[in-house]
């Protein structure tokens, strides 16, 4: 990859289910396992709660990579959530790629509460790959981002007026 990417620090969003992957990430911390500081974890009750539209929104807003992580199939705290996750994201991953998204930018992974080292490994690997392919320019629309800023400001003003 070109040298322009060397100083590039990607931002990666990780949807983590409360019961497995979030606990796995906590375990990585408790075990003082280090990984690149580029990920931001968003806690959800279950990977089955992760609407594919959240992923689209993140790409629209210019995220460089998204991971949807949950319990291994069979271990879902809610019995079946991750089986639906598996179906949804097997399809969504293919659709995103069909739309031209780089395959490296979106992943689904199963990481259990005891897999602190796996969490470290997945994040390190994903960060490395995304760093190498550079910033995400696809699906992102600066106009949208500006509009979103404007909307947020407007809402705020509206709130203040109240």
């Amino acid at each position: 990859m070109s040298s322009v990417n060397e100083n590039f620090e990607p931002k990666i969003l990780v949807f983590a289910c409360n019961w497995c992957t979030y606990a796995g990430a906590d375990l990585a911390g408790l075990s003082r396992l280090q990984y690149p500081p580029n990920v931001r974890i968003l806690r959800v009750p279950c990977s089955g709660r992760v609407n594919p539209q959240f992923v689209l929104r993140a790409f629209q807003r210019g995220i460089d990579g998204v991971l949807v992580c949950g319990c291994h199939p069979g271990d879902c705290h809610y019995t079946s959530g991750n089986y639906y996750t598996r179906r949804r994201y097997l399809l969504m991953k293919r659709m995103l790629e069909f739309m031209g998204t780089d395959p490296e930018r979106f992943q689904t992974r199963w990481i259990s509460g005891s897999e602190g080292p796996k969490f470290q490994e997945v994040i390190t690997e994903a960060t490395g790959i995304i760093k190498a392919i550079g910033p995400n320019r696809k699906m992102r629309d600066d106009l949208t981002i500006q509009a979103a800023f404007a909307q947020r400001d407007a809402e705020e003003e509206e709130g203040e007026a109240k």
């Binding site: 069979g74 089986y83 097997l90 069909f98 739309m99």
Partner: protein
């Protein structure tokens, strides 16, 4: 008048006169020679309006949603894809089977009205079939109360994914450029959604900017969000009637995305055709313990 149209009119008259149904939904001739548009008639006298020609592509089943509050029965004419659409609406609890009287018509395929618009009526024979019709596997209605004419041989036995595969063969950047071009054209008129029998929410999330999912801005990014989300919402539920693409004023190849999902569903979870059997759960409405595993 062709014999099918004649029979359609006779049946409509009979049903309306006897009072078995209070309305009949069919097609009438539109403003242009290449337009046949949906019509709803409520009296036997109006039955003469009904026609059957190579432009009767509008899928009538969705119009049943407009008559949900109708107290009597409504009769509609169903081609293969209208019948699948009818099953779609049944499976989504949107209509009641006993409130509809289905008159099936085996369909020889409809002509591409957009191509027809470019030529004179005299050149009608040269107008090709609409794209979805060319590879139609279910020209015969899968559900009906009464059938007009005799069943026809399907033009295809296997789904045609050649256009999907052509796109899959490109690089991500090429694919992105392709869709970028398409979605830049989108004016977000939502005609594709309105025509789709799988789009039957009371309030679409895209109609309500307060839903938080999308802004009113028409720009490529928001259009893409809409396009992918629309395709995802109908994934596993698309009956391949092609209405979305036919009504698109910007000529976006919308069916390409629907077919991508159909192809992947077939490959990943086993062959599934929506709107054939309403008792089989939709691909995204259930799961199997041994679904393919790629996420270890």
């Amino acid at each position: 008048m062709n014999p099918i149209a004649q029979e359609m009119q006779n049946i409509a008259k009979e049903l309306l006169t006897s009072g078995e149904v209070t309305a009949v939904i069919g097609w009438e001739k539109g403003t242009f020679w290449y337009q046949s548009t949906p019509v709803m008639i409520t009296s036997a006298e109006e039955a003469d309006k009904l026609i059957w020609d190579e432009f009767c592509q509008p899928n009538l089943s969705k119009y049943l949603l407009d008559y949900r509050l109708n107290e009597g029965k409504v009769a509609i004419f169903v081609k293969g894809c209208d019948a699948r659409a009818f099953n779609r609406l049944l499976q989504d609890n949107q209509i009641e089977r006993q409130k509809a009287y289905l008159i099936g018509i085996p369909c020889p395929g409809m002509k591409d009205h957009k191509q027809a618009a470019l030529v004179e009526e005299s050149a009608k024979d040269s107008v090709p079939l609409a794209k979805v019709c060319q590879s139609c596997r279910y020209p015969n209605p899968v559900v009906y109360d009464r059938l007009i004419g005799s069943e026809v041989t399907p033009r295809a036995t296997e789904p045609d994914f050649s256009d999907v595969m052509a796109l899959e063969a490109m690089t991500p950047d090429e694919r992105y450029a392709f869709w970028q071009e398409q979605h830049t054209k989108c004016i977000r008129c939502y005609a594709c959604r309105n025509a789709c029998p799988a789009c039957n929410c009371r309030n679409c999330i895209f109609s309500d900017s307060k839903s938080g999912w999308i802004s009113k801005d028409v720009n490529t990014s928001e259009n893409q969000f809409y396009a992918i989300t629309r395709a995802t919402h109908v994934a596993g539920r698309c009956v391949e009637c092609g209405q979305c693409e036919m009504v698109c004023p910007s000529n976006i190849p919308i069916m390409l995305m629907n077919k991508k999902y159909i192809k992947d569903i077939n490959d990943l979870f086993g062959k599934y055709d929506a709107g054939i059997d309403i008792d089989t759960p939709t691909p995204l409405g259930h799961y199997k313990l041994d679904d393919p595993e790629e996420f270890m």
